[in-house]
Symmetry: C2
Subunit: 335 residues, 2 copies
DNA sequence: CTGTTAGCGCCTTCAA
DNA sequence: TTGAAGGCGCTAACAG
């Protein structure tokens, strides 16, 4: 049983508890010899400071909350790798909150998050709307707890620090590439549920389409693979609806579209060129391998965590929007 | 700023702080009228108990640690959905520790985990070996913190509560099915890094192979898609090596094998039948859709969390091994 | 450079 | 049914 407290250490090292606390938190303020002695005792006794007592006394937890929409989204999981890696550098712990199947209201949950005394909040929910943004802003102001948005954004305001890519531009670019390939019937495959990030992709798509003076075609489908597969089958049932280009807002949607169409005898990319979005494992595991926008998701996680750490340390960052560079990966589903 | 403490509530409700504490933790010990009054004030003031003070005083955190090997593994992410859902029922928080890219020793990290005062630990790392198991056991005994293993197991001992499926049997079953299909050159595709769960799958495979008196063929490859794709290309380069059946320890390995072989002109399943393991999204997104062992991963998460909760509450469970039923899903890569 | 002391906010006996 | 008081383990002035 780890009953070693700071008192035990102080006693056997023949110092006061204050000295023990110092060698741990401000080593430079302790004479090297005593410091070494204390350190030795700490090791001997296997002493680890009690996180609660420390937090209560110092008002800091070295813990940040991570709010995610759904763990099974590949992008979220990969971002967490980056966040975790960076957090370890600062010795920060991660408190995980999954919004999926939410029974409590989100604002209520955020208050619980704050009550858990986290030093900061990482918000990875891309399905953000105005009321949520306002709520987050309120939380940040009222409780003085810094919040960083990662791989999402709310472009109409800049109160919250944000790490993202230029979704608009990325969508514009891939759509333009399809147009340059000579594609005329280019569909955007997006989610039925509307939200900011996908709205931006839609705008980028529309801009390129309008510039080329061709007709925009948008299919709003489910994020669920099984549902959208059925949906695609239905939509292109007769094989008469012309389609020769695809921009999908998620890799998984692109892959299930490809599977559906190949089953119908279409050739990819000769008949239809396809771009996905994100560059998850789905993209490398599809056949043909999916061309897509590469979102540097781990880097976004790392950057978000490091900015949050800065905010926690009181280094106010003037630049709220941190737009990381994306790239376009040409694999086998485009020419 | 949420400076509302228990004192504020007590003051404006005209009671002592003890009463406030009671209405929150032992409501039945408070007269309904006072209780209602206190509750009203709590709401008015937006009071949320400080988690640190509460933890320090009560010695409980209502927080469990979740130790995972790598977030980007689909199985891990999906299990977390289940865990999170169940944890919410008990109002438990999740502290996330990712082992990937570990710089510190695992036993050292576990001590940090314990120092963070979690009430219990969920260990989702399937790459467990004897020394780790011993270490976990030590932690559980020494610090009196319950540990539950989820989707992994160490079959040679039964000190730790475990939730898993019968990996051995599952592998035996799918291998047997391939044999019944008339397959003769059945490969096991497993990871180069040896670990318990995959060793069990290997044993199940070997048992079926031996019973059928055919030759076992095992390929140990990487968990990394790009690497194992190259590996498969190399191994079956000449197209002369006979192969007509596959059991892969992970869906992703099965899918990359399929892609490689189809590229070489093989037909699935007429030339080669393939079984994967897990039933992740990769299985439904492959073409043809992957037949595989279905591991009820969310259910494992739920069960693990609920057992952990029981242990925390002192309800010692006699049954250490909880083997959940798996099933075999026949899709398009088998006859 | 080190020790003393007063909290941090809450829970939990013990009395009343 | 309620209140008073001690203490959980640690940090952070303030002295020395």
């Amino acid at each position: 049983m780890n009953k070693a407290t700071i008192y035990n250490v102080a006693y056997t090292a023949n110092v006061s508890l204050a000295t023990v606390s110092r060698t741990l938190n401000n080593p430079e303020k302790v004479k090297p010899e005593t410091r070494d002695r204390v350190l030795r005792v700490i090791k001997e006794l296997g002493y680890k400071p009690n996180a609660f007592a420390k937090g209560l006394a110092s008002k800091k937890s070295t813990t940040v909350a991570v709010i995610v929409p759904d763990m099974s989204r590949a992008s979220v999981a990969e971002m967490l790798n980056g966040i975790s890696h960076e957090a370890r550098k600062y010795n920060y712990s991660l408190l995980l909150y999954v919004l999926k199947d939410e029974t409590v209201e989100e604002s209520e949950m955020m208050k619980e998050v704050v009550a858990s005394q986290v030093d900061g909040i990482l918000y990875l929910n891309d399905e953000i709307n105005e009321s949520q943004y306002t709520m987050l802003n309120l939380i940040q102001d009222e409780y003085k707890v810094p919040i960083v948005l990662a791989n999402t954004l709310y472009p109409y305001d800049n109160k919250l620090v944000t790490v993202c890519i230029d979704y608009f531009k990325a969508a514009y670019e891939v759509t333009s590439r399809l147009i340059k390939e000579g594609r005329k019937d280019i569909y955007l495959l997006t989610t039925a549920r509307k939200y900011m990030v996908n709205d931006l992709k839609e705008e980028g798509y529309l801009k390129a389409i309008k510039e080329a003076k061709i007709e925009p075609k948008i299919i709003r489908t489910s994020g669920d693979i099984n549902i959208n597969t059925v949906h695609f089958h239905e939509l292109f049932k007769d094989n008469l609806t012309p389609v020769d280009g695809i921009v999908a807002v998620r890799d998984s949607i692109a892959v299930s579209f490809i599977n559906t169409m190949i089953q119908k005898g279409k050739k990819i990319p000769s008949d239809i060129s396809v771009y996905g979005f994100q560059n998850t494992k789905y993209a490398s595991l599809s056949r043909p391998m999916l061309s897509c926008v590469d979102i540097p998701i781990e880097a976004i996680g790392v950057k978000a965590m490091s900015l949050l750490k800065q905010e926690i340390d009181g280094e106010i960052t003037e630049v709220k929007f941190n737009v990381l560079p994306h790239s376009i990966i040409s694999r086998q589903t485009t020419k």
